[in-house]
Symmetry: C2
Subunit: 201 residues, 2 copies
DNA sequence: AACTTATTGTACTGTTCGGTACAGTACATA
DNA sequence: TATGTACTGTACCGAACAGTACAATAAGTT
């Protein structure tokens, strides 16, 4: 494969990503994609087979980017609550970002036709946050800083509290919360979470 | 308006509801609706104007039904935790029912074109639960059975915990939880909630 | 340069589907 | 039984759009 081919391929994906996330998947026509990135429809079919092939690539790359959003510091000096607050903030912010909201919407719609898409998206996107949070909580519990005996369940609790405030509303198109609101909401949810953890499961 | 007209109208709505919730809104054609309930396309346009007019009616009636799902007993003898457990169970069950999931999906997709649809659906559907829970919590707090000073926020917390386990996954098409799982999940969430309430906001 | 392979642009196909036109039929009311 | 209104069935229109055919052209390779 020529290097120019790879560049072109990436251009198509970028254009498609932009359009899918702005207008939605069924609303975006192949001609629009081409108009944006140049080239010919024929090329598009050569690279991706069909329209859904493009979508798969868009979701793949989109979720890939998400993974780099957050990592817990392995710094045992930083206070637990501070780390959780930071995590909560980034979680809400990411989940309510136009990009992830649109990906969610597309997956919700298209998963009917392609159930694998849903699992793929979930495990790479939202569940990624669950995994790293679980790992962190487990580690904190082992160090005696946190009183939980089922880390995955505890992670679900915290994520639920964090999602609770805005996610459902944002998904149906209500305006996203401001930075300040996200910060405040994350802090309150974390506080509530830690209080809830004070008794055994 | 003749009585037969009302019956016919209702038949169309029922057929549309069934098809929309089974296949989705864009996937359902007007001809399919007619095939199911008899009559003519012309009648359909006479009653509802266009396809979106049918959808509005479907959402209206669908949310209306939901309101009758749950009411707190005004029985101060029944234990708080028992009432919350029952509420939690019905909340998860309703939210993860095929009917409400499909309504959610449709609203998520269509709200782009019709933002009012989202607000309409939210306030009649999901936020209805928030309202009655808030009212109940307020009442319990006044009776000194619960230590909260911001009932709406507390309601958001509990609903977040309840949603947390299954909602996001169910929305993208993963299999719905069993009765048992819902029961267990509701109980655990309620317990966590009450623990979290033990400190002031 | 000669040759091969990848790419482009344009035009086209086939189909789906919301919406309309219209002629004919049931139905209610008087 | 006469008359106007509501309904039905069928056929059609027009637009949108995924996907294809193909001839012309650019880009690599030797």
């Amino acid at each position: 494969m020529r290097p120019s081919t790879l560049i072109k391929r990436q251009k198509i994906i970028s254009a498609a990503t932009q359009l899918f996330f702005k207008q939605g998947y069924p609303e975006t026509t192949l001609d629009q994609i081409i108009e944006q990135c140049g080239g010919s429809k024929q090329t598009l079919y050569r690279y991706f087979g069909d329209k859904k092939g493009i979508l798969n690539e868009v979701i793949t790359q989109g979720t890939e980017e998400m993974k780099s959003v957050f990592q817990f510091e392995n710094d045992s000096d930083t206070a637990l609550i501070k780390q959780l607050n930071e995590f909560g903030y980034l979680y809400i912010k990411t989940l309510c970002s136009p990009q992830l909201l649109n990906m969610h919407r597309i997956v919700i719609t298209e998963s009917r036709r392609d159930p694998e898409l849903a699992e793929f998206f979930l495990s790479r996107g939202p569940q990624h946050f669950h995994r790293i949070l679980t790992e962190f909580l487990l580690q904190q519990a082992e160090q005696g800083k946190l009183n939980i005996n089922k880390a995955p369940l505890a992670a679900t609790r915290l994520l639920g509290l964090l999602k609770g405030d805005f996610f459902q509303e944002a998904l149906v198109g209500l305006p996203c919360p401001s930075e300040q609101e996200i910060h405040k909401s994350a802090q309150q949810a974390v506080k509530f979470f830690l209080q809830g953890c004070s008794a055994p499961d």
